[in-house]
Subunit: 172 residues, 2 copies
DNA sequence: GGAGAGTACTTAGGTGGCGAACTATTCGTC
DNA sequence: GACGAATAGTTCGCCACCTAAGTACTCTCC
């Protein structure tokens, strides 16, 4: 197989870490993982632009839709799951509301609360972006055979479980 | 194996994509990949804070160090490889220069150019952050056996090669 | 049942980053 | 060898996001 970015990176850097434990395989895996994420981010951005959304608008709409209560959430919960501050969330919702992709409804049971709900227009534009994005993901992942993809997922899951655990520990 | 975030995500969403091709394995792999990247980003941020750097300062210093001409680059090249605008780069270098981690030297051959060079202090602080970050990466990747890690890398590389190619095509 | 702690969201003020215009220099070509 | 195009970097105005403070409620418990 040809050299990729990570191979070149590791070859260049093996010598610079005489004093710190530097593991070629681990470094290469990390670099590739981050590289792939960047690629997916770029692809998503392209899809999002095509349907006329800002990145942050799509991201917010997306998180709103993939909840267990799809299309409906409190600003706080949304902010939390997006890793954005509550103040930042207010701004995002303002923008989405102005564009008509989302609407605020005051809660009736608790007057401090607000419900954010995706409008029909919001759902439509989100699904358009998702479809475009999905195509690019399929194109990428199709480089693996079904068997390889299954293996890949099994290994990713082992790592993901650890990451979830570690993140939960840290939050404690 | 226990359920992870991606399993729950896919289970929840299988029903919502009756009209668009939705592949469980591909979706799970994508979600896990992005999740892991987030984890690595968070871990890096923690390491960076410990040595008293801002995220963007570390990132810049890091990119400066992992070039083929380590510790030395033009602002333009740096901006390009960081995916940051030239204007943004000016700001980052200003900040790093003020902190004494980097210094600007006008080029002698081409008077439009400037060289950015890491100072001794900059290299030291970067290496401290790297060491901390490396520990976390090893902890994560150690969840895989050596054999699994090799397989993981082989699959990642297939995807990475495609991503590089696709990105190059798009730039054309 | 009312004071104080806690919660949900918004407003205010400051910062990094972006696109576009600007400055200074070099290259290409006639 | 001189003029226009290209290139490197910086400055400027704007925008999203952050932290901290503010507003408006609800909950706890004496």
């Amino acid at each position: 197989m040809a050299e990729d970015f990570a191979d070149r990176h590791v070859a260049r850097w093996r010598d610079h870490w005489i004093d710190i434990d530097f593991d070629d395989e681990i470094e290469a895996a990390t670099v590739r993982l981050m590289h792939l994420d960047r690629y997916l981010t770029r692809v998503t951005r392209a899809a999002v632009r095509q349907v006329g959304l800002q990145d942050y608008e799509y991201e917010t709409l997306h998180r709103l839709m993939i909840r267990d209560t799809p299309g409906r959430a409190s600003p706080g919960a949304l902010a939390e799951s997006l890793g954005v501050s509550a103040a930042g969330m207010t701004g995002r919702i303002d923008s989405l509301e102005r564009a008509g992709h989302v609407k605020r409804t005051p809660s009736e049971t608790d007057r401090r609360r607000v419900d954010v709900e995706a409008t029909q227009a919001g759902v439509t534009v989100w699904r358009q972006a998702m479809a475009l994005r999905g195509e690019a993901e399929v194109a990428l992942m199709s480089r693996l055979t079904r068997g390889e993809l299954a293996t890949f997922n099994r290994l990713l899951k082992k790592l993901a479980l650890y990451a979830e655990e570690a993140a939960a520990d840290q939050a404690r």
